[in-house]
Amino acid sequence: MATYSLLVTANPYSSQGQLSAIQFAKTLLEQGHELMRVFFYADGVLVASRLHAPPADEINLTKAWAKLAIEKDIELIACVTAANKRGIVNVAEAERNALTGNNLDPAFEISGLGQLTEAMLNSDRLITFG
């Protein structure tokens, strides 16, 4: 059994990469492998907002990631620089930047790029979905 980490840079709205990443994550877990961490970078961080309201008959990607994270105890980490630039902020970052509100979904964490490097060094495989 192998340990995976995923790097997700795909725009959740105008590309298919987030869906592919979720499907890949589910499949590797079904096969008994371990998923250590999903690191969101570039436009990938946009999925970490809790304010999405897609049409009722369409998938909510944020909730799909959150479900996976809760059921399988997986770390979902969004890069702080990429996130702040793209309007994804938690309570602390909102205060630090004097913003009126915050939108990070509770299933996600904001952290630094070091978490990606660490995932590379401590996983057997890193797969990127862009």
């Binding site: 990469g17 592919s20 499907q23 096969q31 495989r125 890193l126 797969i127 990127t128 862009g130």
Partner: protein
């Protein structure tokens, strides 16, 4: 080391090809799967795979040139990432 190159946009295959070694594998996913349904690829001995779920989504499953392309599903996609030493998403 043997690498699995993952391609997700049609125009990226030709851009990536000069950098892919003979012993590597190439897997088409997402919009790139259309490439497996027309013409032929100037591959240089690499093993060629295409993701069947993405073909079905687009109504293209029966149009793949199967003499050149190996159809794989998500469980096989995961297996490929272990069979090859590393995976490279050429974005």
């Amino acid at each position: 080391m043997k690498s699995l190159y993952i391609i997700n946009q049609p125009q990226k295959l030709n851009q990536a090809l000069p950098f892919i070694s003979e012993q590597d594998g190439i897997l088409l996913i997402e919009d790139a799967v259309v490439v497996a349904t027309y013409g032929s690829v100037q591959a240089n001995h690499q093993t060629l795979y295409v993701l069947v779920e993405d073909l079905i989504a687009r109504g293209l499953k029966d149009k793949v040139g199967v003499e050149q392309w190996n159809l794989v599903d998500y469980p096989q996609f995961v297996e490929l990432t272990l069979q090859y030493d590393k995976s490279v998403s050429w974005l």
